[in-house]
Every structure is written in structure tokens, then in C-alpha cells.
Amino acid sequence: MTASDVHDAITRAHHEEWARVVAALTRRFGDFDVAEEAAAEAFAAAVERWPADGVPPNPGAWLTLTANRRAIDRVRREGKRDDRHREALMRYDDDDPPEPLGAVGDERLRLIFTCCHPALAMETRVALTLRMVGGLTVAEIARAFLVRETAMERRITRAKAKIKDARVPYRVPSAADLPVRLSGVLAVLYLVFNEGYLATGPGADPVRPGLTAEAIRLTRLVGALLPGDGEVAGLLALMLLIEARRPARVSRTGELVTLDEQDRGAWDAALVAEGHRLVRERLASGEAPGRYQILAAINAVHTSARDVRDTDWSQVVALYDQLVRLDRSPVAALNRAVAVAELDGPDVALAAVERLGGDLAGYHAFHATRADLLRRLGRSGEARAAYETAIELAGNSAEVAALTRRRDRLAG
């Protein structure tokens, strides 16, 4: 086995086993901190030992055993745990009635739901999920969200303390709470994906594929743990169909390329095919689709057209009609208006967009959409002003570049 084989084995083990090891240790020791540290030490031991000793036949078992030993060492080192400490251990119920879910036996699901608990702030849920479930280092998470490592460390430490002191339970929510709690988990995963897909910050890379890949990986994991859930499948399909377009999305000069101008031959055909398959499965299920499934279906329509002129806009608008019935947010209405422009013309769309000005005045995409529609209607002066506002508000460097070019192309 070459050094690079060992390296690959460690990377694979990290992807496949990290969450399992952390989950098992959290269950056994009732403490996120102990679990996280021991898991990290076990992987560090693998990096040290496997090149010399060889990759063990069952890497997961080796890592769990090693992590367990480290955790026991730490608990001993810290001396006897008094009753109070014992009482503060995270709560889980072995005698919980069996959940009507099937896959809940997997410890990782407890881990995911605990990291995404609604009592934690959204940014905290994101950080904790990436650390405890995704196995990213604090430094990696800090870099991904453009905050200092010490600040990210503090955020994660505080979250672990809150989980322990306020006794956030370590369990899968009851069947009654599951839909709401699961949508909270999916929101975390989608946020991670979006941050990777449309990174903010002037110095930031416009796309951070590490984060989109991580979001897809975690969504696959949740999908495998809750196989019957339509929204998990919908979110996965949505991510795959957006990720498929990544190679065509930023030009060589670092400019965002909109869907209508992308080189469709550069799309990742395998991801498109998988996304389409998932959307077809959801349609065949006959169940009423949720938000992510509808968004995935919209993306499936777009990615089915070999040329932008072949896009079935009536289908896209029909799906948006369905979406805005579920999601009354002005952003959904804005996206619907973009499709309406293709079906009914920019004047009809502009009228719909103008109605959203009150809610979306601070949202760059509102001004960019308005600018595009004004441009198509030949109202250059107003379009220019709208592009200016959009450029001011946009946080993504590639998007700013694309908006600037469009502004500069305006006549007069």
C-alpha cells in the first residue's frame, strides 16, 4: 500500500466514520466536548499510525475503539465525576418508545437533530453541524464563513455549553415534532450549500465548492437515514441540479454567468441525471410536494432544456405558482416574476416586481431583476439606476462583475 493509498483510506474513513464515532461517543459519555475531542484524537492517531502499521481491516471499529480509549482517559484524568456533573450529562432515553421511522437506530440522526436544535441560533447550528457531523475543523469552518478562528471556536464552545447546561436532549424528535424539526435541519443544510454556491464577501472566492460538496454529502446522509422523506430527497435533487451547473456558472474572468448565457455543454451530466431521477421519483410518489421538491422540479425543467430557448416556461411558471402558495415570501414571488417575464413579457413581470419593492428594497436580486426588466423595456436611465443599487447591495464578487458589465452595456 502506497502512502497515497493510506492517505485516501484516511480521507475515506474521515468522511464515512467521523459522524458515527462522534455520535457513538456522545451517546456513551453524554458530552459533546468529550466526544469531539476524542474523535479528533482518534483520527490524529490514524494519521500517525496507519502509514506505519497499515490500514486496519475495519477502520471504523479501530477509530471507535481508539476514540473510546481516549475519552475514558480524559474522563479519568479529570477525576471522579460528582453527582452534579453526572446529572448534567446529556439526556437520552434508552427506554424511548420505538419511533415509527425505521432508520432512527442510527446514532448519527440524534447527532444531527441535536446540532440543529431550534434553541440554537441559525449560525450556531450551521457551525456545530459542520463540526460535529461533517468533521470540518474549526479553522475550516471559520475560513468558510469568513470569521476569525477564535470567534468560531467561541461560538462552538458556547453552543456545546448551552447544550449541556440547558440540557438539550440527545434524541430524534417525536413523530409529532419531526416534520418541523426536520425542516430546521434541511434549512441548515441549504444554508451551507448556498454559502458555498454564492459566497459573500469582497475578497471571497465566488464559489466555494468545499461547502457545496459538504452540504450535498450531509444531505445524502440525512436522506439515507430518513429514506421515506420527500423533502430530503427534494433538497438533495435541488442541490445536485444547481451543483451540476457550477462549471458553467463563473466565467474565466470571474464573472457570474446567468442561466440563459451558460454553456450548457459544460454542465455535469451525471449530477443532472441523478437530480432528474430523484425529481421523477418524487413525482411518481403522488405525494403533495413541499418547497424543496418544487424548487427541484423547477431546476429539473431548466436543466432539461438543451438550449435556453427550449425552456418550457409555462411549466416553470406553473411550478412557481405552486411554490408561492406554500412559500409566501417576497423572494419566491420575485423568482416567479423572472419566469413570468419569459412567458408573458417583461412589462407584466415588472408590474409584479414593483409590488415587492417595499419588502425587498434591501435585497440586491430585487434591484438586479428590476434592472434587467427595465433594460428589456428600453428604459435605460431607470435600468442604470437599478443596476447601481444592485451593485451596491451585492455581496458576491462574481455577481458584482456581471452586474457591472450589464450596466456598462446599457445604451445612452
Partner: protein, 107 residues
């Protein structure tokens, strides 16, 4: 495990008779389910007096220790197995008293 459920309010005035009635129903349920530890409503922040005896000489200040729009109007202390249970009780308490409720664990 005990949690403090603090009732947060931003206006003067006491609970309405309807709110009082709903709070009574909620309190009875807490007692019946063995979750009741203690509860009470507080006088307005203007009735507060702050004492500081750290320096050996007792300083008396009229008014609450922090001036803010929102203030503590009352509280429950409840027994709950974990935060999910406490949050569920807080949701019911908030509905009963028609005010926001903060949940904090005792250490």
C-alpha cells in the same frame, strides 16, 4: 432539572382577568403533572430598590438595576426532564399569560 421561565413584558399594567384565568388553568396543570416548583407575578420595575453592600457601606438606589423597555413581569420555576419539555411548557405559559417567556436552566 429545574428551569426558570421568565415572563417578559414591555407595558405597565397587570394581567387581564382572562389572562389570570388562563394562568390559573396552566398552574393547576403544572401542579397536577408534578412540574410545579414556584411561580409569582412581580410589581412594576418602578417599585424596585437596588442594594449594594459590597463596599461595607450600604448603597440604596431607587429603581431597577437596569433600565430597559422590556422587564421581568413574573416567573415560573418548573421541573422538566430536558430543554424540549421546558420549551413546551414555556410555549403553553406564554399563551396563557399572553406575554413572551425566556427559558433558562438552573445549574
Amino acid at each position: 432539572m429545574q428551569y426558570l421561565l421568565s415572563v417578559i413584558f414591555e407595558e405597565d399594567g397587570r394581567a387581564t382577568p382572562e389572562e389570570d384565568a388562563a394562568i390559573d388553568v396552566f398552574n393547576d396543570r403544572l401542579v397536577a403533572e408534578g412540574r410545579w416548583v414556584f411561580a409569582g407575578g412581580l410589581g412594576a420595575p418602578t417599585t424596585a430598590t437596588v442594594i449594594d453592600n459590597r463596599g461595607g457601606e450600604t448603597l440604596v438606589t431607587d429603581g431597577p438595576f437596569v433600565e430597559s423597555k422590556e422587564f421581568l413581569a413574573g416567573f415560573w420555576i418548573v421541573e422538566a426532564a430536558d430543554l424540549d419539555v421546558a420549551l413546551g411548557l414555556a410555549a403553553e405559559g406564554s399563551r396563557a399569560c399572553n406575554r413572551k417567556v425566556e427559558v433558562r436552566p438552573f445549574l
